[in-house]
Each structure stands twice: as structure tokens, then as C-alpha cells.
Symmetry: C2
Subunit: 594 residues, 2 copies
């Protein structure tokens, strides 16, 4: 059941669909020709397949152990693999060269990231969180903080964590109680308990840099009184060496359904010393840099776990002999046919494949917009920023909802075998399930989309997206072969637009209508995004075939795209019909009727 990274799909997307060589004017792209990127991905694939993937099951079975002295031991082999990762320079891939990074664009790191997340979601979270801390400090840290922490975070010699949740508050961060008392020397004493801290304590690195949301004494109530602090596990001396141990301790590890290899810590800050990051009471703004990155990373993770699960299902479906094809034996010399001949097994595999390949395109297309935010062309940069705001919740929630579904289908393909822990299907399903929850539940993403992102700047982002899709469809009407893809896209986009207008009309009259519509709306958006991706992939594949390329990869791409149109896209109508029924029935029952 060895994981095989889909490098071919990624190079197709980067080279033939997104044509990244166009962007040599952007930071990092000059050093990221499609040829070089292909080499990087080949190396990344090797690392993911050979070093990370073999550790995934061990991590699930052993989990992390909290020792009596408060240290945490990660699963067998994990620490050594992480050291190898740092030595190979992988954590630094997309970081700023000023701090030792390699400066690769997001479009490259989010292809690489899909491979490590698929190889082991729990493992990839350690460098993932560290990169989030890097990004928050880049955005809001002082020069001194950057100099102190960034080089070792970039290299991966130190780890990082984000500390938001407390027992009484997860989504509702206004209820945070962890307090910060100024020492008068620019530092603060931090006291409080944080829970569900991924990678909170471990043996991968000599130091761990915690970013902690807390309330400075006397700060306003609610989210306007929350500040962000950097709280290192070990203090850092002026010469960069490690000093005393800070009073930031792991007080327990959660017993979770999955991602056992990642240490999910209860963190006790007991007069721990920390330093303000950014301005007082603007902690959420700084943390949102990290959270938005984490949301994209979580969408990517849900998709990637699904992709790994799909691979395991394919392998099983080709090997398991059971029953005969409905159209006559396909393996007449064997005792039975491989189950991949059965239509309903095909249905599950094709549905998974069509979603995964569409999702991979969506992730890289979005990553390209993350890069385009830095375009010197202001119009391009503004549009890219608009898209990132609009699409982050869609990508997070749609890809994790469906990624989990794909992981569940992979188990179904395995039959009874999949339910035993001998096969990898159970771990994939259990690991995938968290992605729908953390970094803001998918319901929170949907509310962010309809409640904030749609309306921002007078709806500019979504209108730009509609115009882009309309133009794409209009410009290709002469391409008869592409017609089914254009029609599917136009039809789904029309439904999305109808849903958007419905929200504008009904959400204002009764905000519950917006909330009641939010998840169905987000799914119509996800379907539209994937329809757009599939149209672009089909166009690129057709161009290759028209140019005489006989690689069956392109024909498969077209078939998979047609399956998407036939068997996934019809869901949009149901979502639209549901959301237009509004909130009245949904909200009618008193709490005691449940």
C-alpha cells in the first residue's frame, strides 16, 4: 500500500494548466521555471514516499506519549525523519531568503505540501504549524522578533504552535481568559490554559515558539481586547543560544479519533514570559494571518488524505478477486474478477478521482492567487487578494467535507478489510475527519463566506469571479469539444449566482436565512470552482491531444472530467433548492423539542 505522489498531475497543472512560466515577474518565480519545479517535486515526492509515508501507520498505532517530566515522545522513527527533513531543507521551501528560506512561490510549496500531507497528515502538521508561526511573525513581528526567531523557524530547527482555544471558547475567541500582565520591560507574564494545541510539545526540536492569544489586564471585553504574544519554550539569549526553560508546559495530551502521531497538547501557561506581537488588542488580526494559512493548509490536508485513501482503494480494487463482471469474465483464468470491474466500485473510484484531481487543481490555482497578491500590477494584486479572502473558506470546507467522503468511500471499496486496522483505510478515515473541524469548523467557514466574504467591498470579489467565469465561457464557445465542460460550468455558475442573489435579498431581511443557507451555498461555490478547474484541465488536455501528444494521461483526464460533469455536478441543483427554502422551518422548533 505504498503511497505514490501524483507528480505527473502536479506538473500538468503547473505547466499546462496554470503555465507558471508566465509569471517570471513575480517574487520567487524567476527561480521557479517549470523544469526546475518538476525536479523539486520529484525530489519532494521521493522524500514523501520513502521517508514520511512509511511512518504513518506507526504514528497511528503508537501515538505520542507524555512523560512524567513533561516531555513528549513522538512515535518511533518520527524524530529521525524530521531531522532528515530539516537537513534536506524542506521546511524552508517557500520562506523568505532573507531568513534562510528558498523563496519558492506558494504554488510550488502547496504542491509539495499535498505530498507530505498525503504521506502522513499527522507528521506534516509539525512543519505546517511552524510555517504558520513564521508567517504571523513576518506579518506582525518586530524586527528583533524576526531576527530572534525566524531563521530557526525557517530552517525547521525550532518548531511553532498557535494557541487560541481554551476550554470555554473555541470559535468564540472573545471569551478568551488567558491573561497577560505587563512586566514593565516590554515583556508580559502569561497565565492561562490552552487546549487542542497541535504539535504543542514534542521531541523534534530544541525549542518551540508558541504564539498565544491572551487578554492584557484592563483590555476591552470581547475580541477587541485580545493580544498576541510570542512565548518561547526556552528563552533565547542575545547570542542566539538557548537560555532558561519558560513556564509553558504540556499538561496533557488529548485522546483523539485520529492524527495520533501529532501531539495535541493541553498547554499550561503559568506566569510564562511572553512578548507582544504587533499592537495591543490587535492580536486576532495578527493571528488571522496564521489562521488563513492554516485554513488553506487544512483544505489541502483533507484533500490529500482523501487522495492517499483513494490510492489504497485502487490498489485493493485491482488485487481483490470477487465475483464476475456483469458483462462477462474479465479474468477468466482466475477464480474471480478483480472488483474494479464492478460498476459500483468504479463509481466510488471515479467519484474520488474526479474530486481529487479537481481539488488538486483548485488548491494550485488558489496558491497561484496567493502568489499573485505580490504582483507589481495593482489590479492583479487586488483581484488576487479578493480571491484569497473569498475562496479560503470555500477551499477549506469543500475540500475537507469531500475529502472525508472520499476517505469513507475508500473504506467502502475495501469492504470488511477496510474496517480492520490491518489496512490503511481506517486511519485515513479517522485522520481525515478532523479536517472538517479544526481551523474553524466547516459551518464557521460557511458563515464566514456568506456573512463576511461575500459582502466585503460591496461584493467585489464574487462579482469579479462571476465575470472571470463568464468571460472564460464566452471566449471558448467556438470550441465544440469543450462544450460539455463550458455548459456544466455556466450552468453551475448560474446556480451560484442565483443563490448569491437569493442571499442578498433574504439574508438582510433575516440573518438566519444567511446562516441557514450557508453550507449549501458553500457547496455550490465549491462545485462551481471545481467545474472551472475541470474546464481548464480539459482545455489543456485537448490542446495536448490536438498537438499530437498520444500520452493516455490526457484522454484519461477528459474522461475523468466528463465523469465529474455527469456524476458530481448534479449535486448543485439540490443545494440550490434546499437553501432557497430559507430558515423558517429550520429555526421553528423550541430547543426542548429536540
Amino acid at each position: 500500500m505504498a503511497y505514490k505522489a501524483p507528480v505527473r498531475d502536479f506538473t500538468f497543472l503547473l505547466t499546462d494548466v496554470l503555465d507558471i512560466d508566465r509569471y517570471s515577474n513575480l517574487p520567487g518565480f524567476a527561480d521557479a521555471s517549470s523544469d526546475l519545479v518538476a525536479q523539486i517535486l520529484e525530489e519532494g515526492a521521493k522524500f514523501a514516499e520513502e521517508v514520511i509515508a512509511p511512518l504513518n501507520k506507526t504514528g497511528d498505532q503508537e501515538g505520542c506519549k507524555l512523560n512524567a517530566d513533561g516531555t513528549v515522545t513522538t512515535p518511533t522513527g518520527w524524530r529521525a525523519a524530521y531531522k532528515q527533513m530539516v537537513e534536506a531543507g524542506w521546511p524552508a521551501l517557500s520562506s523568505d531568503p532573507a531568513y534562510g528560506g528558498q523563496g519558492m512561490p506558494a504554488v510550488v510549496s502547496m504542491a509539495y505540501g499535498q505530498m507530505t500531507a498525503a504521506a502522513s497528515a499527522a507528521f506534516s502538521m509539525y512543519p505546517g504549524l511552524t510555517h504558520g508561526v513564521y508567517s504571523a511573525l513576518i506579518a506582525a513581528g518586530s524586527e528583533e522578533q524576526k531576527a530572534t526567531y525566524l531563521p530557526k523557524l525557517v530552517s525547521g530547527e525550532w518548531g511553532g504552535t498557535m494557541n487560541l482555544t481554551e476550554p470555554q471558547c473555541g470559535t468564540d475567541l472573545g471569551m478568551i481568559r488567558t491573561k497577560a500582565v505587563p512586566n514593565g520591560d516590554g515583556s508580559y507574564q502569561i497565565t492561562g490554559q490552552k487546549i487542542w494545541i497541535s504539535s504543542g510539545e514534542h521531541d523534534f526540536t530544541d525549542n518551540i515558539i508558541h504564539l498565544v492569544l491572551a487578554r492584557i489586564e484592563g483590555a476591552p471585553q470581547g475580541v477587541k481586547g485580545i493580544s498576541l504574544f510570542v512565548v518561547p519554550k526556552f528563552f533565547v539569549n542575545a547570542d542566539g543560544s538557548l537560555g532558561e526553560r519558560n513556564n509553558a508546559k504540556c499538561a496533557g495530551l488529548e485522546h483523539k479519533m485520529g492524527i495520533h502521531g501529532n501531539a495535541t497538547a493541553v498547554m499550561a501557561y503559568d506566569d510564562a514570559k511572553g512578548w507582544l506581537v504587533g499592537k495591543e488588542n490587535e492580536g486576532l488580526k495578527a493571528m488571522f494571518v496564521m489562521m488563513n494559512e492554516a485554513r488553506l493548509g487544512t483544505g489541502l490536508q483533507g484533500l490529500s488524505i482523501g487522495a492517499a485513501a483513494y490510492q489504497a482503494a485502487v490498489e485493493f480494487a485491482k488485487e481483490r478477486l470477487q465475483g464476475r463482471s456483469l458483462t462477462g469474465p474479465k479474468n477468466p483464468d482466475g477464480p474471480a474478477d478483480p472488483i474494479i470491474v464492478h460498476p459500483d466500485v468504479r463509481r466510488m473510484l471515479m467519484e474520488s478521482k474526479a474530486f481529487i484531481e479537481g481539488g488538486q487543481a483548485f488548491v494550485l490555482w488558489t496558491a497561484l492567487h496567493a502568489d499573485l497578491q505580490h504582483s507589481p500590477d495593482e489590479a492583479v494584486a487586488t483581484k488576487a487578494k479578493d480571491y484569497m479572502g473569498l475562496l479560503t473558506p470555500v477551499l477549506k470546507a469543500y475540500l475537507t467535507d469531500r475529502g472525508f467522503h472520499v476517505a469513507s468511500q475508500a473504506m467502502q471499496v475495501h469492504g470488511g478489510s477496510g474496517y480492520t486496522e490491518h489496512f490503511p483505510a481506517s486511519q485515513y478515515l479517522r485522520d481525515a475527519r478532523i479536517t472538517m473541524i479544526y481551523e474553524g469548523t466547516n459551518g464557521v467557514q460557511a458563515l464566514d463566506l456568506v456573512g463576511r466574504k461575500l459582502a466585503a467591498n460591496g461584493g467585489r470579489a464574487v462579482m469579479t469571479f462571476f465575470q472571470e467565469v463568464d468571460a472564460y465561457v464566452a471566449e471558448r464557445q467556438a470550441n465544440a469539444e469543450l462544450k460539455p465542460f463550458l455548459d456544466g460550468l455556466a450552468d453551475t455558475k448560474a446556480k451560484l449566482q442565483e443563490a448569491t442573489f437569493w442571499l442578498m435579498q433574504n439574508g438582510v431581511a433575516n440573518p438566519d436565512n444567511a446562516g441557514a443557507a450557508s453550507t449549501d451555498y458553500l457547496h455550490v461555490f465549491g462545485l462551481t470552482a471545481l467545474a472551472y478547474m475541470w474546464a481548464q484541465m480539459a482545455e489543456a488536455a485537448q490542446a495536448k491531444i490536438a498537438a499530437g501528444d498520444t500520452d493516455p494521461f490526457y484522454a484519461s483526464k477528459l474522461t475523468t472530467g466528463r465523469f465529474f460533469l455527469e456524476r458530481i455536478l448534479p449535486d448543485a441543483a439540490g443545494h440550490l433548492a434546499k437553501l432557497k427554502t430559507g430558515a423558517d422551518t429550520m429555526m421553528a422548533l423550541p430547543a426542548e423539542a429536540f
Copy 2:
């Protein structure tokens, strides 16, 4: 998080919707007045809530242990609870009084069964499998076998198992290798390995009666050469006392994602002695009696785990304070509102509630038809038998697919808490997942439906069902209040009929079309069945309200039914659109393209 059995829902269904007092002409019903049944269910609820439910988490955490001597130890407290269950007579509820049973109709035992399955799915499987062995022996056993085994199976003093699967065959039973060699005295020596044997070895009972599929030496290849044998763990002496240990041993326990409290055994039969049940080479026919019962039981189980998960989610949603209602604070004196005020949380709870209550009606309505098979009126009995054949795969697959979805939504309502093993959501999700797989995967159910059940007797069963629904709708057109329910039912039934005709036209031309359509078809069937149930429940609730009953239960029922129409029923159109695209794209890719 204490489980509370929904006795009120069950009595409403039995009394007001199904009106079981009408059937006093049927076996068992004379002793099952709705009043008496209500008492039985109250008692059953008490037992499920107080004795079984508290053991569920222990079972998940401890699992079963295989000891060095081949015995299996069940989780702490399970054995004692089972003894208590036997003493209270619960296993005998619906068995034949001739063997010590209480002779209650299926409609009663399948209400009771929902409570025990919800309280602990893993626990309820022990008596569940035993009852399956009882039914197979009732149908196919010799008088001597009945006399030997049935009384103690009925009382629950002995347990039972069904042994079909082998490492090389699950769905494809034609590949069974376990062999049976006649001893010449009517007994056989059975040798082979069976896997995934639920309740295969345990400490609940003094004896375990295994029913084993095997191939008599020289039998025809494939399913036509398979016979059924009864293989007791301990032989039974002529006086009923236990004799020597048979060579039927537990060789291992599976490590599974869930239902840890049930011992899923690898069974090694090494020249074990067994006796033929029914005729040579007709083993599958006898085993199918047990399998059909197990399929209904599995559908019931998936639904019931979902129902228990829903209850836990409701409790959490009422207690967890987070954020404010979009329409202004609902708990202004608290630090935040309970999350049940948020529309997207409502959406999940209402979707779960509407499915569960519809599913509970579907189970009891089907159980009533199981009882009606014994009607002295031949037309009634024939129709009931037709329905049981047609609806068993629908009930099994639809209720488990959606039951798992409900369990997953219950986790989502919990947010991060749900992913920790501290809350019950994870266990419900993990336990529910097996129901989509065992007793024939849901894909196998769908193929059974479209490949066998639809066509049986020239399509008589499905045509009868259409006529029944048409008549139901036509007769109530004057009821304006019922109109939305009638319209929803008629519309969905029309889609089911369209799908049926599509299958008739296209399935013959290419059998892969039937396979490709099967799962979507089954879901349209499930939706139609639930729409029919909701129409009947709405009618009964309206009648109560019209008669002046002010119990808010009835108004809630109507609201929940409207939610079903608005937010679940629209899925039917998507399923229909998908299935009509046929098999061509689905089957187009060569295996190596996956």
C-alpha cells in the same frame, strides 16, 4: 450524555401511525395490544438506558481480549449485564412460544431492538446473532436440531454465530473452501478458516452454536455446492447437558475501527464435527434466512447508532455556549448563547432528526410487513413477502449510509470536542461505519435491488408499491394541510418510477448500466420510502391536533416533516440525473488509468 430511548416516538408509530390493534388476527398480535406493547417498551427502555448504555464506552475502550487458552474475555461488566438480560427474558421477546419464546410480533421486537442497538451496538450484536441462528434453524433445521438447540438459543443461555466469510471470499461465497467430509453417521468433519465472525467467541454463554457454510467433498463448484452445518462449541448430550469441546476455536480477534466490545473472531475449524442443516448443497438458501434478518438488523443498527449520536449532539448543542444568535442574544445573561441557536447547527440537528424519525417509521412499517407475511389472507401475505424482498436491501443500505452521515454530523456539532475520545461522538461514528459494510456492503445491497429484487415476479413488488403510494396520495387530495407531504411523496415516487423505467430499458441492453445506476437508484427508493413514512406521520399528527390534542409532540412532528420535505427530499433529483448518465463514462478507463 445518558441515552434516552425514544419510547414516545415508538408508541406514536405503533398506535397512531401503524395502528397495530387492527391486526389481532395475526400470530402474536392478540397478545400485543398497543397498551401492553407500550409497557413492554417502557421496560425495554429502562433496561437499555440503565443496564446496557452505561457499558458502551467501557466496551469501546477495553475491547475484547483473546486469552492464551483460546477463551475470550469481554469488557468489564458486559457478562453480568448479559446474564441480567437473559434473566429478564429479553432475548426471547419475539421467538416461538413452542421453544420458550414470548411470541411478540416483529413490530415490537424491532422497536425494542432499536433501543438496545442505540444503547450499545456492539453489545446488542451478541443476542442479535443468536436470534439469527434461531431463525435459520426454525426455517431449515431438523426436528432434532430444533429440539436440541432452540430452547437455549431462545432463552439466550447459548449464543449463536454465522460463519460465511473466508480470507479469499466475502461477497463471492461461491469461492468458499471450508470442506465437510461425511462421517457416515450423519455428521461431518468440518475443516477451514472463517474470518470476521461477530460474537465468534466470548464469555457470555456456556455454549456457542456456530452455523458454518462449507463444501461437501465432491460438491459442484460455486454457490451450488455449498451446504450449511451446525457446529456447536460444546457437543450436546442426549440429556441436554454439555459434552466434549468441539474443535471449533477462536484463532484471533480483529483489530477494528469500532464495535470493539464485540469479539470479531477468526474461527479455525480443524476437523470440527458438524451436522447438516437443511439439504446438501442448499446451504446458501438456509443461510439467506439468517442474512435477510441480519440485513434488517443492520439497517436498524445504523439508524439507531445515528439516533444515539444525535441525542449526544443535542445535549452538547444546548449546553455549549459559543457566539451570539444572528438575530440577537438568546441567553443575554450568559457569556454567550447555546450553539443550538445557530442556523447551521440547527441544520445538522434537524437533518438528523428528520432522517431518524423517518427511519424509525420505515423500520417499524417494514417490521409490520414481516409480520403480515404470516397473514391468513393470502393476498396480504404475498404482498408482504414481496415487500420484504424488495425493501430489505433498501432499508439496510439507505439507513446505514444516512445513519453514518448522522453520526458524522453529530461529531460536527461537537466541534473539536467531538474528535476527542472524551465525548461519545467518536465511538458512534466509528461504530456506525461498519453497518455500511457488513451483511453485504451497501453496493451489494444496491445490486441485489436492481439485479434481483426489482425483476422478481415480473416486477410485481415494485409495481404494487407504486400502486399503494398512488392510491395513498389520490385518496387524500382533499386534505389541504397534507398537500405538501402528498406532493413531495408523489414527486419523489414519480422520480423513482422514471428511474425504474430507465433501468428496465437500459439495464437489459447493458448490465453495467444497472450496476452503474444501482446506488443512486437505491437512494431514490430510500427517499421515497421516507417521504411515504413522513406523509403517514404527518397525517396521524394532524388528526391528533384536529381532535384537540395539544401535546406539542404533534406540532414538532409536522415541523420536522416539513424540514424533511425542504432539506432532504431535494436529493432525489440529483440521484435521478446521475443515474441516467449510464455506465459509459464510468466504465471507460482502463484499470491502469486509476
